[in-house]
Symmetry: C2
């Protein structure tokens, strides 16, 4: 599991670096699909990861700050760095026995829902990869070469 998180963090950092090469207004253009813009996608990835990891730690879900107050590259990148230590320390301390632990929440209809930790941790992994796939299409539509999504050749297994 950890390796897939490390992959996501590396790819996310590559996208932050990629963002430096693009005029900032392009990062905020409302695009079709996903959550709308490149920067909002990165913000959303960071928020969703942190929010679930808080839940898994038994901490109250943080209130998502409005994107408007984070709508520039350095702020989103800082937010990602700020949350990272806590996320990383949770993920690196993951053990197999946690797979079946349960997180119980109230959903948007007020109903009680319960998920296994193993389900949530994989949801977080897939969530980021999926949204990054969307960035890759938008990037090509802008005429920019996207960050590679390859997991091999990233020296994650050395």
């Amino acid at each position: 599991m950890l390796k897939l998180f490390e992959y996501n963090w590396q790819v996310r950092d590559d996208w932050f670096t990629w963002c430096e090469t693009v005029p900032e207004e392009e990062l905020l253009v409302k695009r079709i699909g996903g959550v709308g813009s490149i920067l909002y996608t990165l913000f959303h990835i960071v928020e969703v990861e942190y929010s679930w990891i808080c839940g898994l730690q038994g901490k109250p879900e943080p209130t998502e700050p409005p994107f408007e107050s984070y709508a520039n590259l350095s702020k989103v990148r800082d937010l990602s760095r700020r949350y990272h230590g806590e996320v990383e320390s949770f993920v690196t301390s993951w053990t197999d026995e946690m797979e079946d632990w349960k997180l119980t929440e109230t959903d948007s209809n007020g109903e009680t829902v319960s998920f296994k930790y193993g389900e949530i941790i994989r949801h977080v992994i897939a969530h980021e990869i999926h949204h990054i796939g969307q960035l890759s299409v938008w990037s090509r539509e802008m005429g920019w070469k996207p960050v590679t999504a390859n997991l091999i050749d990233r020296e994650l297994f050395e």
Copy 2:
């Protein structure tokens, strides 16, 4: 690892079902980004998964059939089903000790490259999720609602 494959297989099937609701010529329209069209993306996902699984089983890499001979929905779906038994039986028999086994190949420059099995199996997982993210953008651009990418609420952990 298996659960992420099961997620991919379920999402892939959902996309095949989604494809039934779209005029077939739309599935073949050349789009910007990724490998180009919706159907070619699904074909590519199926081929790449099978090809790596063959490699991990020590079997010679299959020759990728030309997409032209698979350029309709039922053929790509049949191909996916045809390969699935072998892929599933490999993935369900995965054990932790296989993580560090090595696959050695000759790359496109004629150089010898070596990957851990753990690296390849995660590459295959991330590869499919990434390409599915691309389909979701194209789908919205067409005005169609995409298949949900959520991993939770798929009853994968019951």
